[in-house]
Amino acid sequence: MKEQQSLSYGSYVLVWLALVVLTSVTVTIAGMHLGALSIATAIFIALIKGSLVVYYFMNLKNEDVMFRVMLLVALVTLTVIMVFTFFDISFR
């Protein structure tokens, strides 16, 4: 069996620190009442946080390229559903 790579304890702690910092950033920005911009930044930061968890904690970093393709298919499917629904909602 091919040994799967695992990161060092320290690098996992660093990823966690980044997640904590991003959480405080998103809470701070939400408190600044930026209007339409605030929801955009909140989703953007959530995307970064989610990617960090998937890439490092879920070890996508060291997985075969097939895992990325599968994830892409799932996310594209979700995006297509979202976009098409909004086409329907917006031009009704």
Binding site: Y9, W16, M58
Partner: protein, 253 residues
Amino acid sequence: MSVQAASPATHHKDHTGARIGMWLFLFTEILLFGGLFLLYSVYRSTFPEDFHYAATHLDTLVGTANTLILLTSSLTVVLAIAALRRNNRKLCTIMLSVTILAGLLFMVNKYFEWHHKFDIGLYPNSKELLRRAPGENLFYGLYFAMTGIHALHVIIGLGVLSVMLWIVAHKPKKTITVGPLQSDRLSLVEDQRGAVWTHEGEGEIAEAVVTLVYKSNEEINDDTWSKLENSGLYWHLVDVIWIFLFPLLYLIT
């Protein structure tokens, strides 16, 4: 004529295949929550003010605390997996215990949060919500559905991780039976440290059956590691979903 000795049946385990299966399952979970996020987005775009106002009743502090708790539990579960990779059973046990405690703490916070909502009359189909603007009712319907299904996933994750904790922490008893002895010298090499257990006996032990029971400390096998990794993947997904739930529900005021 030579007879090939049958090698002990080795069950082929495909750990990559197991992970693919887990990821595929997680995609169905993403689509499940994706549907709820879609509903949320559509209703939010239809009733932006109502959603905005309804969210002011949510406690951002509790939401932030729960976010940090889940993020930390994700770290500890990944450390548990890394520890098991390095055959550090003790650290793995500690980290898994911390993860489970964090999950329980999350649920305790959730309990008080929901309890408070119920106290002020905010629960699905309550008179208070029906009295309010339709968008607020929709917001709370989505709030309870999304955080409820998420909490259910936390509970399932806790169950899975508890089983893994038991598997990792539990040292199976191993029994070795030897005898009757052929010689007056008994040698056992089954010890985990490679130490040789010997007994130099006189005549009488030659007829004895000796049973030795000891707590096995053998290295964690790949199978356990594979199971723990897949449990970890599930736990991380629960975390990722919360990462998106938190800003959409708590931070839109």
